[in-house]
Amino acid sequence: MVDAPAQNGDSHQIADDDVAMAGTNGDEKKDLKDIKLEDLFADGDSDEEFPSTRNDETDNPLALSPVTNGNGISSSDPELLRMFYQRLFPFRYLFQWLNHSPTPTNDFGHREFALTINDVSNNEIYLRYQSYPTADLIRKDIVSKLPSRFEIGPVYTTNPRDRKTLRNQNSFKPLAKELCFDIDLTDYDGIRTCCDKANICVKCWQFMTMAIKVIDTALRDDFGFKHIMWVYSGRRGVHAWVCDKKARVMDDQKRKAIAGYLEVIRGGSQSGKKVNLWRPLHPHLSRSLEILAPHFQEDVLETQDPWAESDRAEHLLSLLPDKTLNESLRKKWASSPGRASTSKWADIDALAKSGASKGLDTRALLEAKQDIVLEYTYPRLDIEVSKKLNHLLKSPFVVHPGTGRVCVPIDTNRLDEFNPMAVPTVQELLSEIDDWAGPAPGGKTPADWEKTNLKPYIEQFRSFVLALMRDEHDPKIKREREENEGMDF
């Protein structure tokens, strides 16, 4: 049925060709056959995508003719991609990350990859159900196909490439995948004032910082997950990969449970109040409120100044419970146009204390204010990504075709320092290799990535992967780690 991502064993998803064309023109031979209904409805506007999270570029009408970056070379230029994949992309760590062991297992071999390739006439071709036995083979294939990006899907019961040869097609089922989260700044357009659509700046990036803190804390403290990697999506969002074995083997019901536990902001553009919570607040919510309160003061009230204009201030009033108090506030604000949000927020309590409304329910007011803080700070998750075991998500370290930036992991220990505008672009990285001055006298020649600003990110990824493998109790890790010193990818 239409909720196909839950039923990847369905024949309509696996019956036909691997090759799917995103821009078909009615030519029967080119029709996508192997695709879900939701894929088809995910197109060139700012919709969320299913099943894969590809919104970083598809909202851009120019996605098919990639943006050139500074020095005039397009980020999807085949030569640029070839150099990037050949010299910089950390295939070996990617392999170890998904394989959970240095020696090839089905965790990697039965894992689906989906490649997006631009053909000669610049049509996007989407290749699903690719799989590779080893790090070398995925590297070889990526270097020869030069996808503008690729995505990672679940581990299946059998090799995804063999799915059609199975006697019983129902036995082809997704078994495991990291629990994933996708948070995107476009979902904050109702509350950010600095930018909209695909644009971001350091001011609105703070929403991502808050989101990471809240979700990361809940995943670690409440659910006990340890191996959580946050990745910059290349333009205006972040992805989380929860890699603990317990998380990877969760079925859809459990994923949905975690997603629901974490979801607070609900409702579409017409739904009015977006936060509706039971009191007393659940421990997760009171803790989140504690984390978010300082951000609300600084990053929202001061920086975003969300209620400076009177129509936006009306939205604030619509969230407050006491009509009499609202009248007084409205009067006060009308007399000083453009009054800052910080002051307006303070006015609420000040007027409440001054007795502006006789029958004021102070508890209701406090709760409404908590709800407002949450509405303006609590993470807005693209929840579908987290609910389905077989949802595909863009791989870390691929290049965003629109910005040229690499999807690098984010160091949560130095979360406040992360600046998306400072993330290296593929063009910069390649020129850093060229500019490299040579080894120190007597020193050995480092790998290409070590000559560039990608170095700290790859090192961070490497330690993440090693910690993950150590927890999977594979005795071979130590030997492999020693062998790998100084190896290229």
Partner: protein
Amino acid sequence: MLRQDFNRSDPKRRVLADHRKKQFAAPTYHETEYHHRLNFYATPPTADITLEQFEQWAIDRLRILAELEACSFRNKSLTETASHMKPLLEKYLLLQPNSSSSSKLFEERQKDHYSHFILRLAFASTEDLRRRFSRVETMLFRLRLNDESPRDRDAFIQSINLDCEQVTEDERNKYRDELAALTSSKKGVEEEVTWVKVDWEKVPDLVESRRVFVKAGKAYVPSKEQSSMVIAEFTKRLDRALDLTARALPRLDEDDRLTPILNHLSKNFITPDASYVGSSSSVSGADISARNIDTLSAQFPLCMQNLHRTLRRDAHLKHFGRLQYSLFLKGIGLNLEECLIFWRSAFHKITDDTFNKEYRYNVRHVYGDVGGDSNRRGGGYSPFSCQKILTEHPPGPGEAHGCPYRHFSLENLTTLLQGVGITDRSVLNGVKEDKESQKFHMACNRVFEHVHKNEIKRAKDESIMTSAQLETIIHPNEYFKRSYLLKNLGKTNSEDIKMEDS
């Protein structure tokens, strides 16, 4: 009907016994005892029954399950479902408590036990049937568990082996505030609460709705929520058993006389969603064409009117909106060519090239014109039922799909209703109450009845439609069909307005 007794010398009887032997846990041939009214159905039945009993018991249970599913499609609350089901359960599947002095306890429980296992066989064959069977069996179990006396319930919970530990005094002190947040009511009345601790995976629904405290992978479950733990365990064990049954099914001999009965049973458990495939919901004599959609849209349910208005306003709809609306249009009988014309002209801000690249294929896929074999064979996808629209993919920012009665704020809903001409205060008030008590179908049907009150009266008076044809609408396409037919009562001859049963 088959009326032959099974007896031990009957070879067919042995087929069944052998099959069970392989399929389920080791059968116990001593007489089954039923200590509890409730049953986790862990042990398959072994005593002989007649073929007639076999069939009748299964049909009785199926009646109950189908009715439960209908309750859920109509969005009835648990309490409403319970009172709706009470007389039916008494008639078809009575189960009395231990405290009852009835001499029929054994027979009742035996029938419950057997009928469950027979339907398990009947519904194990496909993933879809298994999922639905498990869902309605869980509903039935939930009703019975809620109905149980505390003493019997505790005794039953003791009898199943749930993997949970008591929360120690130390921990209760350590997490005093957190635990208090989950049990203290607003009024500040503290009740005596006992806490147990389980892996959070055991109680996913409690986690999802934040009704438990979660710490380091453990869920702390207060006493009032412990029954949902039992229910989750029931579902889990049933799902596992169904998978085992499915794997064992091929071993049932083809010529077994049970097979036709089982097939017949599963066919009678059809999905309400499937009833709108193809043209069964279209109306004869109507001009269903791209250029007529604006006119027809006045007969659409509010969800579709909202999509239509949004489309006209923005010359665009986001993808779930297009999906919901395209399927609906297909359901009212708009053919593929016309549907393509409709979308092409509606998206007037984009070029032909963009349309052909980005959208054309989607529409064709919906109609089963392209796509994998099974999509083509199935004629594409079925129009969404209310249940699906209400529960799946709630609209996010900027999206117009979903059910306005559910997904709009009251204020925006009222504005929309006034926008489509519903200004009657009592209707708007009724809608408000329906919305507040989460009876979204009721709100929609209330509006329908208001819009068509004269025609409905006439249709009833003149017996043009039976009351079954006028019962609660639970599908947008049914809404349109009925709306269109009622509006055109005088214009078409009686032959045309005869409704197909759906």
